[in-house]
């Protein structure tokens, strides 16, 4: 299902993990999440870090939760983490998913970015038992929405796989 680029810790996939038809992510009208989504399209993962107190922050907010600096910034981090939790979804709750199950969702913690967590799908056999604590690496999935606008999702796969 995945095609390794063999050049970085991250992979890319041309295959959609879930069928088309789910809502496509777009940046907020107020611009808060735009740097994140823009960078993902270029296969770069950004999270927030405060230039003043160096606190890591995810999800994004306009303010550093620790020192209240409004200069909170996005920084690039490696798409590498460990599995914090997971679920295997069987019951479809959206028409696009009626034939999609089961599928895996993982919550991945990034130890090199203040242990912030990211939600993504876990690629590969959905019936393989995920193991909390196992090393994971990111996989970029490029897609287009119903109006042919590109967007990119970040999935995960076991780093040892």
């Amino acid at each position: 299902m995945t095609t390794s680029t063999n050049t970085t810790s991250a992979n890319t996939t041309a295959t959609r993990y879930l069928p088309p038809g789910l809502p496509a992510p777009v940046a907020d009208a107020d611009g808060l999440t735009a740097p994140y989504w823009d960078a993902l399209r270029g296969e770069r993962l950004l999270v927030q870090r405060c230039p003043r107190c160096h606190a890591w922050q995810w999800g994004p907010e306009w303010l550093c939760h620790r020192c209240h600096s409004l200069e909170i910034a996005y920084v690039e981090v490696a798409p590498a983490g460990v599995l914090y939790s997971w679920q295997r979804v069987w019951h479809p709750v959206h028409p696009a998913l009626d034939q999609a199950g089961p599928y895996l969702i993982g919550l991945v913690e990034l130890p090199d970015a203040g242990r912030v967590r990211m939600v993504g799908n876990i690629l590969g056999d959905p019936l393989r038992p995920p193991r909390i604590g196992e090393p994971m690496r990111g996989v970029f999935e490029h897609a287009v929405d119903a109006r042919q606008r590109p967007y990119t999702l970040l999935h995960w796969e076991p780093a040892a796989g």
Partner: protein, 396 residues
């Protein structure tokens, strides 16, 4: 200021009337949602022995659609003085709605408040089915494109992590479901009355999302429920037996709402701080309760909420969460004695408050002997969450 001088709601207000409509399966109410709200309110007033025109305040939660001004006009209420919606948290707001009502009464902002909730989701949007949109932004953009959409999916990974951290087995969740269904078999109001659940039926039920089987998930229903509260000194003049509010607390812990599942205390029902504040106000200990009504959106939330209210430790969960411990009247901790959200009715948890009142009045269909103190936990794992403690006059 010592604990006895601190501002408090303890014993200042009482529930004097409860009422509900018939409870229906999802989409089966013959009545409009607003008519259900009116009917439940009238029933609660009749139970209290008061003229509905005496109501001067409304308190609700979960973005209830039955607008208090329209309610007041429909009921011909003489003067509306208090209309309060608990902000956020869905069913996590249920006990907060009671607390807000009590706060209004205790401070003289109102004299007679109805706490109410009406749902006819067949006439509106269901919770357990995602909206169909082409694009999505904000917090949901970080989850929905990965197929993480519904409430069950939002909470499953909290429960998975908690079970992993403490070695808790699926049987603990099963016991919670079995207790609700057991009690519903004695409750003719219950939507699942006459539909018992067995261990085998639970084990063989389909997964919704692991670790939740079908029977770990609440129903969605049509109906309405209402409770009338007045100040304690005025409750004594009414015909029924007052049930006193000993405490209510709402909130959540540090950065509980951080997007993309980044709450620092992730594997949690969001209750540690709320439970601490609740017990301080009520001046009771977890061992004092005769029963607990604990909101089941999903059984895994009940598991964590009971532990975070100090009723047993995470390490004891596998041993304690056995059906025999959770069943009224003989169990060590009778749980959800009307059937709750799983098997009585998903009245967004307000049915749990009505059941607490029934237990303390001695009129439950699964009555505990001499019940005098009970805990009602609102919807877990959301933010804000809320809890309340009720007692008889002897518990004050």
């Amino acid at each position: 200021m010592n604990a006895h001088d601190a501002p408090t709601l303890r014993g200042k207000t009482a529930v004097v009337g409860i009422g509900e409509t018939e409870y229906f399966r999802h989409g089966k109410s013959p009545d409009a949602e607003f008519k259900l709200a009116l009917r439940a309110t009238l029933n609660a007033c009749e139970d209290a022995g008061i003229d509905p025109r005496r109501i001067d305040g409304f308190s609700s939660y979960g973005n209830d659609r039955s607008d208090p001004s329209r309610m007041a006009a429909a009921l011909g209420i003489r003067e509306l003085r208090f209309s309060c919606m608990q902000w956020g948290g869905g069913g996590g707001g249920v006990s907060a709605a009671v607390g807000n009502a009590a706060a209004a009464l205790a401070t003289g902002m109102a004299d007679c408040v109805v706490v109410m909730r009406a749902l006819a989701q067949g006439q509106y949007q269901r919770y357990g089915r995602g909206q169909v949109e082409q694009t999505i932004s904000g917090e949901y953009a970080l989850t929905v494109p990965y197929g993480l959409i519904s409430p069950a999916q939002r909470f499953a990974m909290k429960v998975r992590r908690f079970m992993h951290d403490h070695g808790i087995g699926q049987e603990a969740l099963r016991a919670i479901a079995l207790a609700s269904y057991h009690h519903a078999q004695r409750n003719p109001r219950a939507v699942m009355f006459g539909k018992p659940l067995t261990e085998e039926k639970y084990d063989q039920s389909r997964w919704i999302t692991e670790p939740f089987h079908l029977f770990d998930c609440c129903m969605e229903n049509d109906g309405a429920a209402a409770m009338i509260l007045v100040r304690a000194e005025e409750a004594a003049d009414l015909p029924g037996m007052p049930v006193y509010l000993l405490a209510a607390a709402a909130g959540s812990d540090h950065r509980c709402a951080a997007w993309s599942h980044n709450a620092p205390g992730y594997a949690s029902s969001s209750f540690p701080g709320v439970a601490r504040n609740l017990y301080r106000m009520a001046r009771v200990e977890p061992a004092d309760f005769d029963f607990v009504q604990s909101y089941e959106n999903f059984t895994g939330g009940v598991l964590m909420a009971l532990i975070e209210h100090g009723l047993f430790s995470a390490e004891a969960a596998n041993d304690f969460l056995k059906p025999e411990n959770l069943i009224a009247p003989g169990g060590a901790l009778p749980l959800n004695t009307s059937g709750g959200n799983l098997a009585e009715c998903y009245m967004h948890g307000l049915e749990l408050h009505l059941e607490a009142v029934r237990q303390l009045r001695g009129t439950s269909t699964a009555q505990i002997d001499n019940a005098r103190l009970g805990l009602v936990i609102g919807g877990p794992m959301v933010t804000p969450v809320s809890s309340a403690i009720y007692g008889t006059g002897t518990a004050l």
